[in-house]
């Protein structure tokens, strides 16, 4: 039974070329970058430890030097991307003061939407892994996404509440529904911009919003 022979550690066998040695912190981001790349190009399912390692030109145990498990790797990736995404969002959303309300809530919406979509366009991979439904989404991604959505939703609700209040609170238009609608709208627009940036540019959405505003009677 030749197959039974223990694969002798044949010394002539060529060891793989050593990857450049890199300090821990840098490896970490390198690995996360590779993972992100895999997520957007080949789907979440392709993010195996071996695949990530190969992307970086390294072997599996190196990853385990940085992340205790695949779960932690994915969680770390999501944390990183979401943190950045929320920063981008905060920069765009109307803040507490809400001084931009001058030209009316519709115009505000149009502007915020356009700015948001430009942010999305500037970091497509980041947003792709947050906003695009993908096959084989791992639990970590799902959980993180839901959590972020909840935060954003709460914020949207606050804003909706304030704006609707300013409008004299139209009967039956509750802030909760409006908030959900706004978030859904933003997500949809982001998806379109990501899948077909040529066809759907940020301004197109702003124009559409303004057109709808044009239909409303002045308050």
């Amino acid at each position: 039974m030749t197959g039974d022979m223990i694969t002798a550690p044949d010394p002539r066998r060529q060891r793989r070329t050593y990857a450049p040695r890199v300090p821990a912190a840098q490896r970490r981001t390198q690995l996360l970058d590779a993972a992100l790349r895999l997520v957007v190009t080949r789907g979440h399912n392709a993010v195996t430890m071996d695949a990530v390692a190969e992307q970086v030109g390294v072997t599996k145990p190196v990853i385990y030097g940085q992340f205790a498990s695949r779960g932690e790797l994915l969680a770390a990736l999501l944390r990183r991307e979401q943190e950045q995404a929320l920063l981008q969002l905060r920069a765009v959303l109307p803040d507490g003061a809400g001084q931009r309300l001058a030209e009316g809530p519709g115009e505000l919406l149009a502007q915020v939407l356009a700015e948001f979509l430009e942010a999305v366009r500037d970091a497509p991979d980041r947003w792709r892994c947050i906003v695009m439904p993908m096959p084989d989404m791992p639990v970590q991604f799902h959980a993180a996404r839901e959590q972020a959505r909840t935060m954003v939703l709460a914020r949207a609700e606050t804003i909706a509440h304030r704006v609707l209040g300013g409008l004299g609170g139209p009967a039956g238009l509750d802030p909760e529904i409006v908030a959900h609608t706004l978030v859904a709208l933003f997500e949809m627009a982001a998806r379109l911009v990501l899948t077909d940036p040529e066809h759907f540019d940020p301004d197109r959405f702003a124009t559409a919003v303004r057109a709808v505003i044009g239909l409303t009677r002045p308050v």
Copy 2:
């Protein structure tokens, strides 16, 4: 190490109780039902061949009698659910004639949305597996979902085109964006109704739509 013993084909070992024998067609639907149940209760990832078999009280090879592979099982499930879902949709959406336009497009939208949401509420599992983003979505689900979405989108675009035309085509409001928005809106509403039927009942959305319509100046 008792665990190391080869599980000898001990003849005294009790064979499992034979599952009731069932004709092919019936087994098929039985298996699909079990798969659907697993999808909505434990996520797509839990739909393993063994798990489905266990739900039905049967063993794996029985499944392979009906479906050539896991992929085919999932595909069949999706086909079945989507077919029904599209039937429900068609029953609700305005048809070619569009005779319901009488009370204005806003009222039409409110009615269609409410009816759609009631349909969703009537078959929650079906819609859950179509409309809810779930962790570990298998490729089959994703593909099928996208395909159905495309169909619905085309339909929505046609409708939007017709309705906007009827309104005298407000400048800048292109049907494509409107269609995407409508679909996103419906999906969002469906998700809310599915996750929290107590809190979000179909009428609430209809009311909200009417409230928005109330803001527009009469055409």
